[in-house]
């Protein structure tokens, strides 16, 4: 039994370390607020834990795009009041002007991962003019090729294939002449 003592001690130490490290991570709550200061869009992330503001915790701000989240600048740490202040760009494209903004705490030593999101009307509406989609153009589909393009292509192809067909007919003419000779 003695020979297992070392192993059992090590396992206990390991388990204790893991329990201890988890015990240190506390839950943090992020509250997002959106403000307009002059022409600037300001986004504030207020971080609290057990009802108290949390200082010097890095918060990552991101905005939802089609497939994933686009980070907005680097992570900013909360100040003495527990607030991380971000200047939000005003040129992020959006279909209807609305953007979903996320604030995250990731891999912090003292706090567990946390995420919150909010919707705000700060997006730049992208206006697309699709009125020319049905027009004939080089970039159009098979049925939308420009008429001049179709005609000139067919003329070139017809010219070459016309000569080829003429040459084939000449070969058969040679054969015909051979038969007459017989």
């Amino acid at each position: 039994m003695k020979k297992y003592n070392y192993f059992i001690t090590m396992c206990l130490v390991f388990l204790l370390t893991i329990t201890n490290s988890f015990a240190q991570e506390k839950e943090a709550k992020i509250t997002l607020t959106f403000e307009k200061a002059d022409s600037l869009n300001v986004c504030k992330a207020f971080v609290t834990s057990e009802g108290q503001p949390v200082i010097e915790v890095p918060v990552i701000l991101s905005v939802k795009r089609l497939f994933s989240k686009l980070p907005i600048g680097d992570a900013i740490a909360t100040d003495s009041t527990g607030v991380a202040t971000f200047e939000f760009p005003n040129d992020i494209p959006s279909k209807n002007g609305k953007l979903t903004i996320f604030a995250n705490i990731v891999d912090d030593e003292n706090y567990m991962n946390s995420e919150t999101s909010g919707e705000v009307n700060w997006g730049t509406v992208v206006v697309t003019d699709n009125s020319n989609v049905s027009e004939r153009s080089i970039a159009a589909g098979r049925d939308g090729a420009p008429i001049y393009f179709i005609i000139s292509s067919l003329l070139v192809i017809g010219l070459f294939w016309g000569v080829i067909i003429y040459a084939v007919l000449q070969v058969f003419k040679i054969k015909k002449l051979g038969k007459i000779q017989e």
Partner: protein
């Protein structure tokens, strides 16, 4: 050579008689009757390499390209496309080493024209196969015809490859008709099916004045046709690249650059083919030192033209060294591919432009060695055009595996590429075993003072 030079051209062949014609005919038809052990081994070797490629292709398609090839999201065109460009370059042999010489009355074209035509047909056949091999879904090949857009360079390429292939078949076949009749009448120690084949393919050729008239007119028309068609083929192959927005290929020079490179490679491949046929089939009397001298001079000319287009292609953007061009050019000049690039410049441009200027190096053996170097450098040149141009994406992409920015062809890819090259050589070899590799009537016509007399020589 010096003795030949002392005889004035006008008096040289005036004594060419029917008897001499018969001797010539025997010389040129001999390779069809006899195949030595060396020839059989050569054919077996090429067939084995070709079928190894067929097996490799089966593995590629059954296991999937992502497993069997080095292709990735970045380098989606690997050696298959660079090899396609190489084979298309060789397929212009008919244009540069036959049609242009014929139309401009360079009489030394006569024994070379059929060799050039066969190389053209064989390479364009294999180039066509290369397109299919490189397709992600070859089972959808017919979609190119059903759903292709006429505005797309890929569709132009398919159209021009097919048209050029048909023109090459015709060009070769029409000029072959009198030779097929000659084979039918003069070769007897052959299997029955072979004699029957000559009979069918000679299309009732009797050698009448009317038939000769039609044949010569048709050959002339096809000769004229094949020049713009060949140049269109090569230019459209270049447009596959230059119509994209990739900075490495975004060049208005690309079409002419590709055509000039092709001209040089056709001279090189012809030198090698002429050397091989002359040695193996003992055709020294027909493929003379004079032909090598002329081809050596042609190589210098084509090499210098190619050098000119290379200067335009690389040094003009290098003078500006703007943004994305700089990435590519510095990679070639002093970067990862520098050694590779400068070797290709040395053997693919400098050597053919300079060495054949010396008369001693225009002798058959040294010139053939030069041609081999030029041809190998030519293959790698297309590799350098296609692959480094694809090694980075047009738009930034996150979390890309590091392996995507490097491309190394797999064994399967190299087996298939080897098979296409072996296939080209196999087609040329097999042709020379069943048909006269030198056009009997064209050489005879060249030897006659009054060119129309050819109709009396049967």
């Amino acid at each position: 050579m010096s003795e030949e030079k002392n005889i004035p051209e006008s008096t040289k062949y005036e004594t060419f008689t029917q008897k001499e014609y018969m001797i010539m005919k025997d010389d040129l038809l001999r390779p069809i009757e006899k195949t030595g052990i060396g020839g059989k081994i050569w054919i077996a070797f090429l067939t084995a390499v070709f079928f190894a490629g067929v097996v490799a292709y089966y593995l590629q398609e059954s296991r999937g390209k992502s497993v069997t090839t080095g292709l990735s999201d970045y380098t989606m065109w690997g050696v298959y496309i660079s090899n396609f460009l190489f084979l298309v370059a060789l397929s212009l042999s008919s244009v540069f080493m036959s049609a242009i010489l014929k139309l401009t009355h360079f009489e030394w074209y006569r024994p070379l024209s059929r060799i050039a035509d066969v190389i053209s047909l064989s390479s364009i056949s294999m180039a066509g196969i290369c397109i299919m091999i490189s397709m992600g879904r070859p089972d959808r090949l017919h979609y190119l015809f059903l759903h292709g857009r006429i505005q797309s360079p890929i569709v132009w390429d398919i159209i021009v490859v097919i048209t050029y292939f048909v023109a090459c078949v015709l060009m070769l076949f029409v000029a072959l008709i009198p030779s097929l009749s000659t084979c039918k009448n003069h070769l007897h120690n052959l299997p029955k099916w072979q004699l029957k084949m000559y009979d069918i393919l000679s299309f009732g050729w009797k050698g009448t004045a009317e038939q000769w008239k039609i044949l010569k007119r048709t050959v002339f028309i096809l000769t004229v046709l094949v020049i713009p068609l060949g140049i269109a083929l090569r230019t459209v192959s270049a447009w596959l690249f230059s119509t994209t927005l990739r900075p490495e290929w975004d060049s208005t020079n690309f079409g002419a650059y590709f055509v000039s490179g092709s001209a040089l490679l056709t001279v090189a491949v012809m030198i090698i083919a002429v050397y091989a046929f002359r040695k193996i089939y003992s055709l020294q009397s027909y493929l003379t030192n004079m032909h090598f001298d002329k081809m050596g001079q042609a190589m210098v000319l084509m090499g210098l033209i190619y050098a000119y287009f290379n200067i335009n292609e690389y040094l003009v953007p290098a003078y500006k060294m703007s943004g994305l061009h700089a990435n590519h050019l510095l990679n070639l000049f002093v970067g990862e591919n520098a050694l590779f690039y400068w070797l290709v410049v040395l053997f693919g441009i400098v050597v053919p432009s300079v060495l054949p200027m010396f008369k001693k190096l225009r002798k058959p053996f040294p010139l053939t060695l030069i041609a081999v170097a030029v041809l190998i450098a030519g293959w790698f040149k297309f590799y350098l055009i296609v692959i480094p141009g694809l090694s980075h994406p047009l738009l930034p992409v996150q979390d890309v595996p590091a392996s995507w920015s490097h491309y190394t062809p797999s064994l399967i890819e190299m087996s298939i590429v080897s098979a296409t090259i072996a296939g080209t050589m196999l087609l040329v070899t097999l042709f020379s075993k069943y048909f006269p590799i030198i056009s009997v009537w064209e050489v005879a016509e060249g030897k006659l003072e009054g060119k129309e007399e050819i109709i009396n020589y049967k």
